[in-house]
């Protein structure tokens, strides 16, 4: 076995690999860019080597530096994680030349599967289902109609040079097909300078289901069942699970057999994933094969008990697989939520900065957290915004989902925005609950993006009783202050009003051992907790059932987060409540006259100056953030009355760049 391996990656996956290596008694070497000097993977590894400046093109993607780091530290093998150099055959060759083992498949497999056309041909030959289609270029619109009729509608017309949704058209009859052909060709010509079009059968409401497999260098290939990854936002997976709630045993066997056949066809070694697209009748078609460890591998690990990273290392060292297909069953259910540093309410814009609080739920038999960051660490603008994966496990899907909901409630992240509330909302979305998913789900259900109104509503009693208990604790403590008028000390009354989202809930709060009994709407809620003042997570029980509520105290208002829902709560005396009703309801200030910075970044240029008249949709400024130039447009007509920043300025979120009138 290797004595020492290098992990050519960063973030959670580097940490994940280090964990398995450590378990196997293998020393680890981390590589890091200047931005990752204090990163978690650097802290966890036995050694760490700086490989350059923050941009990955100058660090994590520099093969020479990584090879040199191996030579300098004596690492005998490299685990590439995912992304970066994980599917780069040139890197494999470079390592091979230096006598270093690549923990992954052989070059031939990477190359064969890396090419869309080759892989499809190989899949065809290996007897893998591929999407029916005409792989040659269509001559003209009539040719397209003829082929489409042979395939059967609906079909998808695609530019061979296509990408990013451009040069793609769906057609469900001859007319649409003719029209779609012309449009796709025009678009392709203008976008890519290449108007070659081909056609495929179009799969409606497709699911994305993939087969995990692992192979050794001795001809053994085992599949570890499927993963359902249909919950995607703009082709980015959000929630994955294993097994799939949709697949039956027969389909599973067929998919597994085909995946293994494809692996054999390219003499595959190491962990790999064959991705399929599945239609409503459980017909499945080959999409592509990923020749690396995937982000969502933990769900497969949890239901099979296999440590994929360990097996990858063993196989790379020439060992035989210690398992055979017969050893692999499905034990329970696992789900994974990808935790991104992004703001779901701002169109999922990435969020960067310091993790003022970062407290993932405690790991146990039902909860696993693969994390790459720590409290006080930085989320850098240079890399992928995924900061952690939250994986839960249960006997069945319902149990795994229940654990996920609780675990999300406990996942505390402050300082950067995160998608926890979005994940919580998905967890209770009826279509997710019933398993009725497709890759279109998020786009269909949140066509205009995700808004606070999309947050699930829940029975107010939970928030009401938690707030009541917390605030009563504060008041009782306030009544313990020194210097009180002797004989006239403060006595905290028992009747209170909880004002939540402008509704008034009358409660009475009685302190008892270990918490409070809250009477609300003729019911008693026994709130018990060892929560302490100022703690951002309230952990306790209500009527003996466990509850986790995140809390932010802002003056008189307590902002509570639970099960994806949010509430602004005040707890006041009945008399105060009476007087509060007299207070004017103030409309939030009209911000539409301001151009606000949507994210932190650098103001690159301003397209207008004071006194200019602008109309809706006109370009106002360019902001650089996350290495991307973002153009900001006018949302209404108006005259620029003031410009508050000059190009070159560093902007924070919501900085008022300019004002319109």
């Amino acid at each position: 076995m290797f004595d020492k391996i290098l992990i050519a990656n960063r973030g959670e996956i580097a940490c994940r690999v280090i964990k398995s290596a450590r378990k196997m008694g293998i020393k680890t070497v981390a590589v890091f860019s200047d931005a990752d000097r204090d990163a978690l993977h650097v802290q966890l590894a036995d050694e760490a080597v700086n490989i350059g400046p923050p941009p990955s093109t100058q660090s994590y993607l520099l093969m020479d530096r990584i090879v040199q780091a191996c030579l300098d530290t004596g690492a005998q093998a490299v685990h590439p994680g995912y992304g970066f150099l994980s599917e780069n055959s040139a890197f494999c060759e470079l390592l091979a030349k230096a006598g270093i083992v690549f923990i992954g498949p052989k070059t031939r497999a990477i190359e064969a599967m890396g090419d869309k056309i080759t892989s499809k041909k190989l899949a065809d030959e290996a007897g893998v289902n591929t999407i029916p289609g005409y792989t040659d270029v269509l001559r003209d619109a009539e040719h397209a109609v003829k082929i489409s009729n042979e395939l059967g509608y609906p079909v998808m017309l695609k530019a061979t040079a296509g990408g990013g949704g451009k040069g793609m058209r769906v057609a469900s009859n001859d007319d649409e097909c003719r029209d779609g052909f012309e449009r796709a060709a025009n678009e392709a010509r203008s976008s890519f300078g290449d108007d070659r079009i081909f056609v495929e059968k179009f799969i409606e409401e497709p699911r994305h289901i993939e087969i995990q497999l692992i192979a050794d260098g001795h001809g053994n290939v085992v599949h570890l069942n499927e993963r359902e990854c249909s919950l995607q936002r703009r082709h980015q997976k959000v929630i994955e699970e294993a097994p799939s709630p949709f697949i039956d045993e027969e389909t599973r066997q067929q998919m597994g057999a085909q995946a293994i056949a494809l692996a054999r066809a390219v003499d595959y070694e190491s962990a790999g994933t064959v991705e399929f697209i599945v239609d409503g009748q459980r017909n499945f078609y080959f999409l592509e094969m990923n020749t690396r460890l995937q982000v969502e591998h933990p769900v497969s690990e949890l239901i099979t008990g296999v440590d994929l990273v360990e097996l990858m290392i063993r196989v790379a060292d020439g060992e035989k697989l210690p398992i055979s297909q017969a050893d692999i069953g499905i034990n329970g259910w696992a789900m994974e939520s990808r935790v991104y540093a992004e703001d779901p309410f701002r169109n999922f814009l990435p969020s960067t900065g310091r993790l003022v609080y970062y407290r993932p739920p405690v790991e146990d038999a039902h909860v696993r957290v693969d994390t790459g960051v720590f409290e006080g660490g930085q989320v850098s603008m240079f890399y992928d915004p995924m900061i952690a994966k939250l994986i839960t496990y249960g006997a069945d899907r319902e149990e795994a989902r229940a654990h996920m909901r609780t675990a999300l409630d406990r996942f505390l992240i402050r300082g950067v925005s995160c998608n926890i509330s979005f994940l919580s909302a998905l967890m209770v979305h009826p279509r997710f609950v019933s398993g009725d998913m497709s890759t279109n789900l998020i786009g269909d259900e949140y066509p205009e993006g995700f808004h606070p109104t999309d947050l699930p509503q829940e029975d107010p009693s939970i928030m009401v009783s938690v707030a009541a208990s917390m605030v009563r604790s504060y008041r009782d403590r306030a009544a313990q202050i020194d210097g009180q008028l002797s004989g006239h000390e403060r006595r905290v009354p028992k009747d209170w009003v909880v004002v939540m989202n402008n509704e008034y809930h009358e409660v009475s709060i009685v302190p008892v051992e270990g918490g409070h009994d809250v009477e609300y709407r003729d019911k008693t809620y026994a709130v018990r907790s060892n929560w302490q003042f100022g703690q951002p997570l309230f952990t306790g029980t209500i009527n003996a059932s466990e509850i986790f509520v995140q809390v932010e105290r802002r003056m008189q208002i307590y902002r509570l987060f639970h099960n994806g829902s949010q509430a602004n709560v005040m707890v006041i005396t009945p008399r105060t409540a009476e007087l509060l009703k007299i207070m004017p309801v103030k409309a939030p200030p009209d911000m539409s006259k301001f151009l606000l910075s949507p994210m932190p970044g650098l103001l690159v240029s301003l397209s207008v100056k004071e006194g200019d008249t602008v109309s809706v949709g006109e370009e106002l400024a360019v902001l650089e953030a996350m290495k991307m130039e973002n153009t900001l447009y006018a949302e209404r007509d108006g005259v620029v009355v003031s410009v508050n920043f000059e190009p070159g300025a560093n902007l924070a979120v919501d900085d008022k760049i300019l004002e319109l009138e």
Partner: protein, 510 residues
């Protein structure tokens, strides 16, 4: 007897209605509470004892003898906030527009005198159209009587003003003398001369809100210490604020128990200061994370944001926190921030509240605006305040402590009791780049040499050791242990005794 009791009931009922139901309705329709409702919210339930309910004015001119309202437009008395005594006056806008009469001023003076006698805070709830014009100079005299008491009470008992309606002309000077001013957004304003006079004299067109609203005073002028959304929020926050204040200048700031351990470690503070000395970070994170229960009661959060001031508790005991904010103007000192912090430090010193200073200061702000504005004298106020303070003073240097600003920010030389530094501290006359360009002027232009010299200077001075070798700092501490070290130091200093030489009073550079 029975008759008197009945009469009493009637008088009380009448007084409770102030200017009458219709005026109360108008007050409510403006989103404002009445004087009595405000007192009710401010004090513990049922604790208010009203005095001088039956006072009436003595004016006979302009038909005023026909118009008498029991109480005469101000509600006065005392009560408790979390069991601690405070004296209160609350101007009643429903009675003659809350205008100040001779009799009404006497009521205010009476509670002020009592507050001084027993040593308890005075809270004024201001909502007044100004002087009772019908009374002429008698009303003016009333103002001056209040001013005089405000001045004598200054530094003896805490004085808090809450502006909950108009406060214009001479009337502003009573709040101005008090220690803290809170305002209600959209329904209060303060100015010496109103928009009409401004228009006549300077041709300037300005609304009352723009001229003296809560927003103006909490951002631009710094007159207001905190502004809140409405009467209810304001009064509830004032209740919370009083928890930090001692009853008088001989009292200790009130202890309140906390479950938060004094030796709690905050691992995340070890990465608070960025590697790059030019990168800002949020000093408030440090303030919140070291304070009891992560609570910090910030004052003037929107004004002179390059310095942070406010109250925290450490191990249950209140402290005044002053901290440079690297996020704003790199945390440098300027006129506004010096005044803001200087006055706050003097309050703490007057009322036995220890001062906790977090330093990351690159120096004083340069420029004509500052020099013409008198930064010399204003900056000196901050220095003066720190130097004269005899309460426990604890200083933690997190990063930069450059030049004269190092001296000013509660340095050892200004009788800092415990001066600690993080390993990232750089205590020097100036930053490495600037220093090298002066010391090695001949090398300017030779980038390589300058870089070398800068590195040399950095390794020599950009650390806490030189200052440590001279005893200017007592220890270098791990950031995660900051809370523990502060709490221990404060406990050690609890019985500190230090007196300044006798004098009539000092002569701070006003």
């Amino acid at each position: 007897m029975q008759e008197i009791v009945e009469q009493l009931e009637q008088k009380r009922k009448a007084a409770a209605l102030g200017g009458g139901q219709s005026r109360i309705d108008i007050q409510h329709s403006r989103g404002k509470l009445t004087a009595r409702e405000r007192v009710e919210l401010l004090l513990d339930e049922g604790s208010f004892e009203e005095w001088d309910t039956f006072v009436e004015h003595r004016c006979t001119d302009f038909g005023m003898s026909e118009k008498k309202i029991t109480g005469d437009g101000v509600v006065t008395g005392y009560g408790t906030v979390n069991g601690r005594v405070v004296f209160v006056f609350s101007q009643d806008f429903t009675v003659f527009g809350g205008s100040l009469s001779e009799a009404n001023a006497e009521k205010i003076c009476k509670v002020m005198d009592h507050a001084m006698k027993v040593g308890a805070p005075i809270i004024g709830l201001n909502d007044s159209g100004g002087a009772r014009i019908q009374e002429g100079v008698a009303s003016l005299g009333g103002y001056a009587d209040v001013f005089q008491r405000n001045v004598l009470a200054s530094g003896v008992v805490p004085q808090i003003s809450v502006i909950m309606g108009p406060c214009a002309g001479g009337a502003v000077y009573s709040p101005a003398i008090t220690d803290f001013i809170f305002m209600v957004k959209d329904s209060s304003y303060m100015f010496v001369t109103g928009p009409d006079v401004v228009k006549t004299v300077t041709q300037e067109q300005v609304t009352a809100e723009e001229l003296g609203g809560a927003l103006t005073h909490s951002t631009i002028s710094g007159v207001c210490d905190r502004a809140y959304e409405n009467d209810v929020e304001t009064l509830l926050m004032v209740r919370r604020f009083i928890n930090y204040l001692p009853a008088n200048n001989r009292d200790r700031a009130p202890f309140r128990p906390t479950p938060d351990r004094a030796d709690r470690m905050e691992k995340s503070l070890d990465t608070l200061v960025p590697d790059n000395p030019n990168m800002p970070y949020d000093m408030k994170e440090l303030v919140y994370k070291v304070s009891d229960d992560n609570e910090f009661w910030e004052l003037q959060p929107e004004h002179a944001q390059n310095i942070i001031i406010g109250f925290s508790r450490m191990d249950g005991h209140p402290v005044g926190v002053v901290a440079n904010q690297p996020m704003v103007l790199a945390g440098c000192l300027d006129i506004k921030s010096s005044i803001k912090a200087g006055r706050f430090i003097r309050f703490c010193d007057a009322f036995n509240i220890p001062i906790l200073t977090f330093v990351d200061v690159p120096g004083f702000m340069p420029g004509t605006a500052q020099e013409y504005g008198g930064i010399i004298k204003h900056g000196a106020k901050l220095l003066f305040a720190y130097a004269e303070a005899t309460v426990p003073k604890i200083t933690v240097i997190t990063r930069k402590a450059y030049g004269g600003a190092y001296d000013v920010m509660a340095s050892k030389h200004l009788r800092g009791d415990v001066n600690l530094a993080w390993p990232s501290a750089e205590i020097a006359v100036m930053g490495p780049k600037g220093a090298v360009e002066i010391i090695f002027r001949e090398d300017i232009g030779d980038e390589k040499k300058i870089a070398e010299r800068t590195e040399e200077y950095r390794s020599k001075f950009a650390n806490p050791f030189i200052a440590g070798s001279r005893g200017y700092i007592d220890d270098v501490i791990a950031p995660h242990a900051t809370r523990k070290r502060i709490c221990r130091s404060l406990a050690m200093l609890r019985d500190k005794k230090l007196d300044n030489p006798w004098r009539k009073h000092d002569n701070i550079p006003l």
